[in-house]
C-alpha cells in the first residue's frame, strides 16, 4: 500500500507543477491590471477593431480551410495514391516551421516581388500589408490542424458503411453527404475550432506579411515595444480572456453534442 501511495503522491506533485506553470501566468495577466485600466483598454477603439479584425480574418481562413481541407482530408483517409506520404508530411510542415520563417516564405510567394503576387494584384488581391495577407498567414499555419482532425474523423468511418450506402443506390457524392460527412462531423468541428483558435493565436507569420492593418497580437506587441509591459498588459488580458472564453464555449458546445 505504501508503494501505491508514493505513486500517487509523486505523480500528483509533478502534474501540479505543470498546471501551475500554465495557470499562474494566465491568472496574473487576467488580474494584473487595475480594473479601471482594463476597462479603458476595452473601450479603446483600436483594441476593439484589431480584435474584431483578428477574429474575422481567422474565420475567413477557416472557411477556406473547410472548402479545401475537407476534400484533402477525405482523399488522404480513403485513397491510396503515389506521393500520399509526401503530401501528408507537407501538410504537417507548417506546424514545425518557425512562424517567422513561414512569414518570410509567404512574403516571398505572395509579395509584390513574385510573379504570383503580381498576378493576384492584377486581380485586385493584395497580400502584403493588407487583410488578405492576414488570412493567408493564418490559413498557412492553422490548416494542418483541420486536415489532421478531419482525416482522423473520416478514417474512423467504417468504409463498409459507405459500401452499404452504395449498394442502397447512392452515388459517391450522395454517400459523402449522407454518410461520411455527417459521421465525421464531430472531428471536423473540433478541427475547425482548433484551426480558428490557432489562427487567432498567430503572430510571427502575420507580423512579417502584414504589420498594418494590425491584428490584436500585433497591436499588443507594438504597445509592448513602444510603451512597455504596463501598456501591453491590459490588451493581453483582454485578448487572452476573449480567446479563452470563445474557445471554452465552442468546446463545451462540441462536447455537449458528443454526449447526445
Amino acid at each position: 500500500m505504501r508503494r501505491n501511495r508514493s505513486f500517487n503522491a509523486v505523480f500528483i506533485l509533478l502534474a501540479f507543477f505543470l498546471v501551475l506553470f500554465i495557470g499562474v501566468p494566465i491568472f496574473l495577466t487576467l488580474t494584473g491590471s487595475p480594473p479601471r485600466v482594463f476597462w479603458q483598454a476595452v473601450l479603446d477603439e483600436q483594441v476593439q477593431e484589431s480584435i474584431l479584425f483578428t477574429f474575422f480574418s481567422s474565420l475567413i481562413a477557416t472557411g477556406v480551410g473547410l472548402l479545401t481541407g475537407i476534400p484533402l482530408a477525405y482523399l488522404l483517409a480513403r485513397k491510396n495514391f503515389p506521393g500520399k506520404q509526401f503530401i501528408e508530411s507537407l501538410i504537417d510542415l507548417p506546424i514545425v516551421i518557425p512562424h517567422s520563417a513561414a512569414g518570410i516564405a509567404l512574403l516571398l510567394a505572395l509579395g509584390r516581388g513574385s510573379a504570383l503576387g503580381r498576378g493576384f494584384e492584377a486581380l485586385g488581391l493584395r497580400f502584403v500589408s493588407a487583410a488578405p495577407g492576414v488570412v493567408a498567414a493564418m490559413l498557412f499555419v492553422s490548416v494542418p490542424f483541420l486536415v489532421d482532425s478531419a482525416r482522423e474523423g473520416f478514417e474512423a468511418v467504417d468504409p463498409r458503411l459507405e459500401y452499404v450506402a452504395r449498394t442502397l443506390g447512392s452515388s459517391a457524392w450522395n454517400v459523402f453527404w449522407r454518410v461520411s460527412f455527417p459521421m465525421a462531423w464531430r472531428s471536423i468541428i473540433s478541427g475547425l475550432i482548433m484551426m480558428w483558435a490557432r489562427g487567432i493565436s498567430e503572430f510571427g507569420a502575420v507580423v512579417i506579411l502584414t504589420y498594418h492593418p494590425m491584428i490584436a497580437p500585433v497591436l499588443l506587441y507594438e504597445r509592448f515595444q513602444s510603451f512597455g509591459l504596463d501598456y501591453a498588459l491590459p490588451v493581453a488580458g483582454i485578448v487572452i480572456l476573449i480567446s479563452m472564453l470563445v474557445f471554452l464555449i465552442l468546446r463545451a458546445l462540441n462536447s455537449n453534442r458528443e454526449d447526445k
Binding site: D158, R160, L161, Y163, V164, A165, R166, T167, L168, G169, S170, S171, N174, R178, V179, P182, M183
Partner: protein
Amino acid sequence: MTQSSHLSLRKLNISLEDFSLKNLDLEVRQGEYFVLLGPTGAGKTVLLEALAGIIPLQSGSILLEGTDITVYPPELRRVGFVYQDFALFPHLTVAGNISFGLQNSWRMADYTGDSARKKIFPLPCMRLILKGKSHQQAIKAKVEQISSLFKIRHLLERSPNSLSGGEKQRVAMARALITTPQILLLDEPLSSLDPETREGIQRELRRIHQELGTTTLHITHNFEVAAALADRIGVIMDGKIVQLGTPREIFRQPDNEKVAQFVGVRNIFRGRHFVEEDGGGILQLDGFKFASISGLKGIVRASIRPEDILLSREPLRSSARNNFKGRVVEISDRGSFSYITVRIPSLEQDGKDLNLIVLITRRSGDELALDLGQDIFAEFKASALHIF
C-alpha cells in the same frame, strides 16, 4: 432445369494480398436460398463484396437476370447487402436507416411512379429539391410496411446503437430489402448473435424468404445455420467450390475428408475397401472390419456420424451389421446431449485401438448410467458407414 439461372458467375478471378478466388463458376436460381459454406478466411466476404461491386474483379463476369453487371458501380447493381455486424448507420434512427435507399430519388421513382417527374427534372439534385410531401409520405408508408413485416415498428425512432443484435439484424434486412433488390447478399448475418437469438432470427429469415421470395446468397461458416436455411449449399474451400448440393446431400455424403470434418463428422478412418460376392462392401482397417454398402475398391476414407452409432449395456440382437464391444474412455457433457468416446480394442495382437465418438442425448446417458472405464456395446448400420 425448370428454374432459371438468376445469378451467374463465370470464371471469376479475384486476388488480394492474402487470398484469391480462382476461376469460380456458380449459378444461383431464381428465388432460391443459396448458402455458401466455408471455413473462416475462405474468402467468402470478398466474393460478396465483388458481387456488390465494391471490390474489383481480376477477370470473369457476373450476370444478374441475364444482364452483365461486371462493370456496373454498386449503386446500379440492385443488390441488397447485409454485413456480419450489420453496418447500420449510427448517425441515423432506425427509420432513417431503413428509408436510406428510398431517399435516393432516382431510385424512388421506381416506387412512387413519378417517372414523369424524372423526365422533367433529369438531374437528381433538382428532384431532391422538388421532392414534395407526397414523396415523403410514400417513403413513410413503405417503411412502415416493411417494418411490420420484420416486426420492428416499435423501434423506428430508436438509435441503432441501442438495439440488440437480433433487432439490428432485422433492421439491416429491412434496409436492404426495402429497395427490392434483385438478389440479397448476406455475410454471416447470424454469427454475431447468441444461440437463442440466432434460432429466432433463423426462423424469421425463413419466413421472410418465403414471403418475399427474394433470391438470396448467404455465406456462413456454420453448418447448422446452413442446414436450417438453405435450399442448396455450396461448400467453398481454398477459393474453390468443392461440393454443391442440398443440405442433406452434403451432410450425408461429403465429397471429401475436409468437407466431412467441416460439417461435423467426427469418426473418419482410412482403410482398404473390398466388395464381396453378394455386393456388400467390407472396409478393412488395422485389425477391424466394417460392413458397408459401397461399391468402391481400394484405399478409401470412411466416416460415421456420431449420432449414427447406438450404445447399449447388453449385446444387441439387431439388424445392424457392425457390432463392437468397447470401453468408455471419455464423456463430454453438453447440456442436453453428450459426446461419448468409446475405445474398441484391436482384434490383432499389436493393432491400434480405435476410438469411436458417439453422440447421445443426456437422457440416454442417464438411462445407460455411463461411467468412465465401463464396458459398452456400440453398433451401427452398414448404411451409416460413408465411404469416399
